[in-house]
Symmetry: C2
């Protein structure tokens, strides 16, 4: 039986392209995760945030549950009321 962690490390070791894709997925997951955390910290429900952003609650639910991959403008629209934004950094 191979664990997920072992599999991930295996992929990383043999496939640079897949490695980059995994990094992108992890980055996206961390961004979405921070949005969820910040929304909880502020005690805002999906419905409330949806109203503020002018978008349906279902859209937020889909994004937070990783059902869809949002466009960059949608992401910024979500982050704005939570006091968050995105910045570029160089590796």
């Amino acid at each position: 039986m191979t664990t997920w962690k072992e599999y991930k490390n295996y992929i990383k070791s043999i496939n640079p392209q897949e490695k980059k894709e995994i990094e992108d997925i992890e980055k996206l997951a961390s961004i979405i995760g921070e949005i969820i955390k910040q929304r909880h910290n502020k005690g805002i429900s999906q419905r409330e945030l949806a109203k503020i952003c002018g978008m349906p609650q279902s859209s937020i639910a889909r994004i937070e549950s990783f059902e869809t991959t949002p466009k960059i403008d949608t992401l910024l629209k979500l982050m704005q009321p939570l006091g968050m934004t995105l910045n570029i950094s160089y590796i």
Copy 2:
């Protein structure tokens, strides 16, 4: 005659919602702008970057010319080979 700058400030002053949207647009523009600048710094053509990312050159051209608003994963895929990434910051 009203200049664009005057109009923008006017909108900002009277419409908080529009103000946020403008901030999002400016943020997106700065991100895309940095991508273009970094690509030029590295002396990489759209075709070369496209090949690295595994996407057509036309897609990159559309994004860099603000013809389309990319999904967050597409953006990260573009930034990765340029040594860039996105980070969250709090206002």
